[in-house]
């Protein structure tokens, strides 16, 4: 078998407008460019999202837990949601799409991500969604003028890869995806501490708020502990490959 799986070839062929175009797409793939960037889209649940470098490509693990979360909150009355580090917008767009009573704010430090997320909202005809630029590590973040706390649902897939692990990743990740979307400091846990601080802040979340955070393959215990010390109760959801992937927290 060649480097490219037959399936990838088929998808590239479907995306190509001519045989010559197909050959040029194949060449890009051989050089290591991620398939999703070449095709320019990634299905995410029932949505088809636009993707472009260097904004993080939505992962199947994320798709899985976001759908699981949607099942839980689907029939609740009107709710507001905040998505920290929204990237392509995938998580909060899927949730607003599946839950008619939900409206979402999404932030990202990268203006290109904010632009892409809003573009995707337009593409999917979702108007209960608004992305804006903000740095949620910054101490003034909670008083950002575009935010309207308290929020009922907090979701995030924050950068969680420790620096040492990042260096060992394959080129299609390292060369094409934004390091700021992936690097979670030396321990990989920096962003979870920041999120826990937000969660305990007066009136930032509503009293019965729920929180769902994606974590790295060996971080479930550490992140659960961080959230528990913020007086939250936690459940761990496994991903389809059996890896503890999502911390579900509530008061």
């Amino acid at each position: 078998m060649t480097l490219l799986s037959l399936l990838e070839k088929k998808w590239l062929r479907q995306a190509a407008s001519s045989p010559a175009h197909f050959q040029s797409l194949l060449r890009r793939r051989r050089k290591g460019e991620p398939l999703q960037y070449i095709i320019g889209t990634q299905p995410f649940g029932p949505l088809n999202l636009r993707v472009r470098p260097p904004i993080l490509i939505p992962r199947p693990e994320t798709e899985h837990w976001a759908i699981q979360l949607a099942d839980r909150i689907q029939n609740r009355p009107r709710r507001t949601l905040l998505d920290l580090g929204t990237g392509s917008g995938c998580i909060s767009l899927l949730l607003t799409h599946l839950c008619p009573a939900l409206s979402a704010h999404a932030v990202d430090v990268n203006p290109a991500a904010v632009e892409l997320a809003n573009e995707n909202a337009l593409l999917c005809s979702i108007d209960r969604f608004q992305a804006f630029q903000a740095d949620f590590l910054h101490q003034d973040f909670p008083s950002h003028p575009s935010l309207s706390p308290p929020y009922d649902i907090l979701v995030s897939n924050p950068p969680y890869i420790p620096l040492a692990e990042y260096l060992t990743l394959s080129d299609d990740v390292k060369k094409y995806e934004d390091p700021r979307a992936l690097l979670g400091g030396n321990s990989g846990l920096d962003f979870y501490h920041a999120i826990a601080r937000l969660a305990v802040r007066e009136r930032f979340l509503s009293p019965d708020a729920i929180i769902a955070l994606e974590v790295g393959h060996n971080q479930a215990d550490a992140v659960s502990a961080i959230l528990q010390s913020a007086k939250l109760r936690t459940d761990v959801w496994p991903d389809p490959w059996g890896i503890p992937r999502t911390i579900f927290a509530y008061r």
């Binding site: 998808w11 999703q36 995410f44 798709e63 759908i67 994606e214 974590v215 393959h217 389809p240 890896i243």
Partner: protein, 391 residues
């Protein structure tokens, strides 16, 4: 260009033989059934209450409406018989011109009666299809014959897609595995639209191709096969109503190891496999780029397979209650041969041959096979019904 060979097999039931059989029996069997249905209709009518307001009345009125065409045909039949009786004395009238007029009229009445007996009544007795609303999932798998089989599969697939379009169905290739050496190893096509299942269901079985492969320099005729399975496809909400399976009985697996996964990996790993534990049915799906979509597709296929089993089971039960041993459809049975050297396609179930293979593969002659098979099926149903009322 198109000819039937109705006498090729003894099991054959073409329309003409069916009618011939009916005539032999003086149509008495069919008339008995019609008479019974008309009596039932009278009973239903007498049960309707004065103000026609109860829910039962509504059901009764619907039943009356449904059997209206049969009543009309029956009225024509009794009328024709009465006229015939009235005519009889005139056949021996002393006036020759009166006699000749009477005999002309007699012939015309006789024709009316025959037509009612041979065509109208049988077609009205065909029970309405219980699967009429269903769409179809058509699975094609290459069998004996290696690459030749894969090449032929790709051609059959094109034939089906064209047939679907011509019949105003919407088709989507749900899964397709190409063969390295050319052709298609296997494929699944979704055919959407009312009546799609009833149109395609007769394609289930083994299709055999006989021809000289391009690769055979000696020019020998090879025989290869492709297996076709046609499954009933339900709308998602209808599938839930059928309660074909419970989620706790389905094991969902994702393919291949993904290492750390999550942000660490951006390879597309979307393949999904379902196992329905009670039946042992497994479905793998990998053609879509998202796991969610593959899962949805896989559940669609699983639902269709279970629905298929259910329909087969129901047919078997109905037959068992009737106590008659009709051979059930066997999916490993060779149903059709495409003979290229002789330019001929033969359907072995009804012994029907078309002398123009190209019009089957590239034109619309598949319609001819499918309508003949449909008709054959309807006639079998009527026969079953007759046997039942006698048995």
């Amino acid at each position: 260009m198109l000819f039937f060979r109705p006498w090729i097999r003894p099991t054959l039931r073409s329309f003409s033989t069916f009618s011939a059989r009916l005539q032999q029996q003086d149509g008495s069997r069919i008339l008995r059934v019609v008479q019974r249905l008309i009596d039932e209709r009278e009973t239903t009518r007498s049960q309707i209450s004065q103000d026609m307001s109860t829910p039962e009345d509504i059901a009764r009125l619907r039943k009356l409406k449904e059997s209206e065409p049969l009543q009309e045909a029956w009225d024509e039949w009794t009328e024709a018989n009465k006229n015939l009786e009235d005519l009889k004395p005139l056949l021996s009238d002393p006036d020759p011109s009166m006699r000749s007029l009477a005999s002309e009229e007699y012939e015309s009445l006789d024709e009316t009666r025959n037509n009612l007996l041979q065509n109208t009544f049988p077609s009205l007795l065909v029970p309405p299809s219980t699967t009429a609303s269903l769409s179809a999932l058509v699975e094609l798998k290459s069998g004996a014959g290696g690459i030749e089989s894969s090449l032929f599969l790709a051609e059959l697939l094109r034939m089906y897609l064209r047939f679907a379009t011509n019949s105003s169905f919407k088709s989507t290739i749900v899964a397709e595995n190409e063969n390295d050496g050319g052709g298609t190893k296997d494929a699944i096509v979704e055919i959407k639209g009312e009546g799609a299942y009833d149109a395609f269901r007769w394609e289930s079985g083994v299709h055999r191709v006989q021809r000289v492969p391009a690769t055979d320099s000696a020019g020998r005729v090879h025989t290869s096969t492709v297996a076709v399975i046609v499954l009933p496809l339900l709308e998602e909400k209808d599938a839930e109503k059928e309660e074909l399976f419970s989620m706790s009985d389905v094991k969902i697996e994702v393919m291949r190891a993904r290492g750390a996964g999550g942000q660490h990996v951006n390879k597309t790993e979307s393949a999904v496999r379902l196992t329905h534990i009670p039946s042992g049915i497994t479905v793998s799906m990998q053609d879509e780029r998202s796991q969610h979509q593959n899962k949805r597709r896989a559940f669609q296929v699983l639902t269709a397979r279970l629905m298929d089993q259910k329909i087969t089971r129901e047919i078997a039960e109905r037959r068992a209650t009737r106590n008659n041993l009709v051979k059930s459809a066997d999916r490993s049975e060779k149903i059709r041969t495409y003979n290229y050297p002789q330019e001929r396609v033969t359907d072995h179930r009804i012994g029907m041959s078309l002398r123009n293979l190209t019009s089957v593969m590239e034109g619309d002659a598949l319609h001819d096979f499918i309508s003949a098979l449909k008709k054959d099926h309807e006639e079998t149903q009527v026969e079953d019904m007759l046997r039942e009322t006698e048995g």
